[in-house]
């Protein structure tokens, strides 16, 4: 079985299930309590604390309301399904406006946004139906003659759909679906507790459209609509009172806030469960026969995979490589040699995928920014030249279309888009750099057989080369003043982080090895770089 399949069937699946269970517990119990409290205190005007508490308890086990729990559960299953299908580990950077529009109009995005909107509308209706007797549940028909009932239902559902749309837009278009592990991994309960704090709740309301401005706009629009309808349908003056429907305003407020909190909690809890670190064994029992190792569940295979598994594998490698004495036993496995044979199989299994990743990343950057530095590709034999001409035809067509202002608007490249899209995938590279730097440093004292020694020059050369390319791009162009609170887009932040970790890794190695690094067989350029690192002149 491939490591990816193993990971998704044995690790990820259970994470999804646990996340969903946790969410249902958190989100159905908590909002229900709030709504019931409102129902008892405001709608029924009961202020006696004992009655309020007993009401709260009895209404929770009331059969019709229990039956209604099916609705939020279904909504959360829909939301979870959408989230499971569409999360990503690297930010999406559109190269031009056409790509942006293509994504907005793509069938999957529309379908998934629609699902989110439906779930949100249902949830909003569910919350209000719990809170107020005049706001019936969707499936319960309005009593004939009750004009307000239908209006209220519609307004709440539209409002829910709007919040859902707002969330879906952020999720699909502004990289809301990006999943990155946090810098440290405390227990999940701790993280969930932090995301439940008052401050993050307020933040969630502001980001998901439940802020003061939205309410003001909603009230204005609602009033305007009410006046228009009354004018058009020639209602009598009493119907004008509709515009001062206080319960509706209150319910809109309550439902929006609850929905915003629900959605934010949903994405946070999902994120917490999915990005939980996983410990992957460095070596397994069947290591002795080299034929069986291509597909087994071990670190080297996980490192060469892709997506979330690769990210978590590099996180695991980084943890393993850190100086923490708790990881001493695992590091010993990396530095050991096979019996019999004496091959540094574990080290090579770790080094090769990491170095491949770093080299490929460096090459991609070079290809885009300084193609003249790349080694020349071998000359293509004459018979196999048909495919490139097709590509060329497409390119010529696009180039000619770009000249027209209308197409040019859509097809012209956005500033620095290619580099940004490359850096969006830099997170595993950053961790690979940190891990290799730490492993080389650890090898100074822990590597008994000298398995790392032979590869140190290669590693240092790869680091300095990558650093040269990254530094060659110049500084991050978007400047921001400290204290203004705006964050850089994730890909630019990763670019900074890559520069940062390369420097840090090189300093770690040079500080540990001292002047010995100068005796290593590296290129002259790398040597002069190492020299300046030894003198602490690289800033």
């Amino acid at each position: 079985m491939k490591p990816e399949d193993l990971f998704s069937s044995e690790v990820l699946l259970w994470r999804y299930v646990r996340a969903l269970a946790c969410l249902l517990l958190l989100q159905v119990v908590a909002p229900m309590a709030v709504c019931n409290l409102y129902h008892t205190v405001v709608a029924q005007r009961i202020l006696n604390p004992i009655t309020v508490t007993t009401n709260l308890l009895t209404s929770c086990i009331y059969p019709t309301k229990l039956l209604r729990l099916v609705v939020p559960a279904a909504c959360f299953v829909i939301l979870a399904r959408v989230h499971i299908k569409s999360y990503t580990v690297s930010a999406w950077v559109p190269l031009n406006r056409w790509e942006k529009w293509r994504r907005v109009l793509s069938l999957t995005v529309i379908l998934r946004s629609g699902l989110i909107m439906i779930a949100c509308a249902l949830l909003a209706n569910f919350y209000t139906s719990l809170a107020h007797p005049d706001f019936p549940f969707l499936v319960i028909p309005c009593t004939p003659g009750d004009v307000m009932c239908y209006k209220r239902k519609t307004v709440i559902i539209y409002m829910g759909a709007y919040v859902g749309y707002h969330y879906a837009y952020k999720y699909f278009m502004l990289n809301g679906n990006l999943i990155t592990p946090t810098p440290a991994h405390p227990r999940k309960l701790q993280l969930i507790k932090a995301s439940l704090s008052l401050r993050s709740t307020r933040e969630a309301c502001n980001t998901h459209g439940a802020n003061k401005l939205s309410f003001l706009c909603a009230i204005c629009i609602y009033m305007a609509a009410a006046i228009m309808i009354n004018l058009i349908y020639d209602g009598n003056w009493q119907e004008w009172l509709v515009i001062f429907d206080l319960p509706l305003m209150m319910m809109t407020l309550l439902a929006t806030v609850l929905l915003a909190i629900s959605l934010s909690l949903f994405s946070q809890v999902f994120h917490i469960f999915i990005t939980e670190p996983v410990e992957i064994p460095v070596a397994t029992a069947e290591d002795s026969n080299p034929e069986a190792e291509t597909d087994s569940w071990r670190l080297s295979n996980a490192l060469s995979s892709s997506g979330l598994l690769q990210l978590l594998a590099f996180w695991d490698l980084k943890t393993l490589a850190s100086s923490d004495p708790m990881n001493f036993a695992r590091r010993t496995q990396v530095f050991c040699i096979s019996q019999p044979g004496g091959h540094p199989r574990n080290w090579m299994g770790i080094m090769n995928p990491s170095m491949n990743l770093i080299r490929k990343f460096c090459e991609r950057l070079k290809r885009h920014n300084c193609p003249e530095d790349l080694p020349k590709p071998p000359v293509v034999p004459a018979g196999a030249a048909s495919a490139p001409t097709d590509v060329n035809k497409n390119e010529v067509l696009i180039m000619s279309l770009k000249r027209y202002p209308f197409f040019g608007y859509f097809l012209s490249d956005l500033p620095d888009a290619t580099n940004r899209s490359i850096f969006a995938e830099a997170l595993p590279v950053i961790w690979a750099v940190q891990a290799l730097g730490d492993l080389v440093t650890a090898s100074f004292t822990e590597d008994k057989f000298g398995v790392v020694q032979r590869n140190i020059p290669d590693i240092l050369m790869a680091f300095t080369q990558l650093q040269k390319v990254v530094d060659g791009l110049g500084r991050v162009t978007i400047s921001r003043r400290p204290g203004t609170g705006e964050a850089l887009p994730s890909e630019l932040q990763l670019r900074k982080a890559l520069r940062f970790s390369l420097r840090s890794a090189l300093y770690t190695v040079t500080t540990t090895f001292g002047d010995t690094v100068l005796a290593m067989p590296v290129s002259a350029e790398c040597q002069s770089k190492l020299q300046s690192y030894l003198q602490f002149k690289e800033g």
Partner: protein
């Protein structure tokens, strides 16, 4: 247990401790002392000087408006101006100030005073609730206030180079490097009430400054010759749960730092490269005054302003808690990260806590007393009686854990102990460090990049920074050269740890159950 009477007598008044040689501190006259230090340190000597411009403390700034004379606006205009400039609260106050302006104004004034009183009551009620907005009341005092009048209040040595950052009382930081005449001045509008500065390990150029608005990260290009780095060299890392900063500590490998602040007990860890943060612990215990990452990166010490301290393991961030008789004042990790020395605010006693490697935190159940620092009278070399010891202000341990310096709150001598930590902790008397007459030590810091020996930098209350070179041959292994596996087994056999213990220290303070019993008593007078 070692006490201050075991120390050699301090130098007489008028003499200044200049250096340590052959295990003894030597004192010389003021001018000779400086010359000798310069001679000893040669090209590595860093003279920390205050520039030509006068340094004003950041906390005695006067309001500019007080310099202006009387005004001619009508009271209503004044109220409007106050509203524009400082908000509605100031305008209400302005309204109360004006008297005899007519009946309408009188009514408005009375209403304003009523509103202000109600606001005051609400504010008082809010102060009773735990709120993150409340700051300053119980937070750590900024470095400026901890100093005693001098222009320099604290210094921080770079972990790998001969560079020293000095915090000035006007909330600026200057960076001094050996052999360089340029001393960059770090000044920023957000850099107010500095509480902590720390250089990032394994980097030439990054320094974190913890202040009121969060952590300011300065990137100082080591080959740049700019004397006043611009605002583009700074980035602000602020987490709402940790502002204003009380304390911060770097992960020993760089890349991460932990910070605490405000009046809540949340522990925030930042990834510096990605500028991403996570709250790794939020619980009860009052506000946190101190965090310290152990040099082997596996543990994080956290001191609360209430009478508890916790040590977290940094894998899944679980902790062990110890209760104390009074809050922690200062603490230091040993170079290998298996020992923690700490002092509390009220008891003049140095405590020790041991840790065993393995799963979890693995701390010993009870802290042991290793040195009695009670204030005592000793006679100096001139025969005059001087008082030493008392409540401790700061502990500083050198990078190889061979010299321990202790600064006291009320007495003017820095106490120096010779220590070694492997295989067990030993303390031996080192001596008493004296400055110029009437000078009190404000803070101390050991230079970190020396291959052997040590240099202690003492900031005196005059704002002067004195370097005291100490020449001795190091016997402690460097953290990186010790084989962890042998270390594991040698200690693991001696005890079994009890996880999540919460034993009050006052019940059985002493050596019960502590691994340091015999070597300490036997080793008090052995020179390490």
């Amino acid at each position: 247990m070692i006490n201050l009477e075991h120390l050699h007598p301090p130098p007489g008044c008028g003499h200044v401790t200049a250096y340590e040689n052959d295990g003894r501190l030597r004192a010389l006259h003021v001018t000779e002392a400086l010359e000798t230090t310069k001679k000893w340190l040669g090209g590595q000597f860093i003279e920390v000087t205050v520039g030509q411009e006068p340094v004003r403390t950041a906390h005695s700034k006067q309001e500019a408006r007080e310099a202006f004379s009387a005004h001619t606006e009508t009271p209503w205009q004044r109220v409007m101006f106050a509203y524009y400039e400082e908000g509605w609260e100031a305008s209400l106050q302005e309204m109360i100030k004006g008297k005899d302006e007519g009946s309408l104004y009188q009514v408005a004034s009375t209403m304003a005073s009523v509103i202000l009183k109600v606001c005051g009551i609400i504010a008082k009620a809010q102060a009773l609730l735990p709120s993150p907005k409340r700051s300053g009341s119980s937070a750590n005092t900024p470095l400026v206030l901890r100093g005693s009048g001098g222009s320099i209040v604290s210094v921080a040595w770079h972990p790998h180079t001969n560079t020293l950052a000095a915090v000035f009382c006007d909330d600026t930081v200057r960076v001094f490097a050996a052999g360089r005449s340029i001393t960059p001045l770090l000044k920023h509008r957000l850099q107010k009430s500095i509480t902590h500065i720390a250089w990032m390990p394994y980097s030439a150029s990054l320094m974190a400054v913890g202040c009121e608005c969060g952590v300011l990260l300065w990137t100082l290009d080591p080959v740049n010759v700019v004397t006043r780095p611009s605002g583009s060299c700074v980035s602000l890392l602020a987490h709402p749960s940790a502002t204003p900063i009380n304390s911060l500590t770097w992960h020993p490998k760089g890349n991460l730092f932990a910070c605490v602040g405000g009046s809540n007990s949340q522990l925030v860890v930042w990834d510096v490269g990605r500028e991403a943060s996570v709250v790794v612990h939020s619980g009860t215990g009052g506000n946190i005054s101190l965090v310290l990452w152990s040099p082997d990166s596996s543990r994080l010490f956290v001191a609360y302003s209430s009478k508890i301290m916790r040590v977290f393991e940094t894998r899944s961030w679980t902790y062990e808690q110890w209760s104390l008789e009074s809050p922690i004042q200062s603490a230091v990790w040993s170079s290998l990260g298996h020992l923690l020395l700490f002092v509390t605010q009220d008891d003049p006693v140095l405590y020790y806590l041991g840790f065993i490697p393995g799963e979890g935190v693995g701390g010993t159940q009870v802290a042991a007393q290793v040195a009695d620092l009670t204030q005592t009278l000793v006679s100096d070399e001139d025969g005059e009686e001087v008082s030493v010891g008392g409540p401790v202000k700061q502990l500083a341990w050198d990078i190889r854990s061979e010299r321990l310096a202790i600064v006291f709150r009320d007495t003017e001598f820095v106490v120096l102990f010779h220590t070694h930590t492997h295989p067990t902790l030993h303390l031996a008397p080192g001596g008493l460090i004296r400055g110029e007459p009437c000078q009190v030590p404000v803070s101390v810091s050991f230079q970190k990049n020396l291959p052997n020996g040590a240099v202690l930098s003492v900031v005196w209350s005059s704002g002067q920074v004195q370097h005291i070179p100490m020449r001795y041959s190091s016997r402690e292994p460097l953290p990186s050269t010790l084989n962890t596996s042998t270390f594991n087994t040698s200690i693991r056999t001696t005890h079994n740890s009890i996880l999540n213990c919460s034993v009050p220290l006052n019940t059985s303070m002493g050596y019960a159950g502590s691994p340091v019993t015999s070597p300490l008593i036997g080793g008090i007078f052995t020179s390490p």
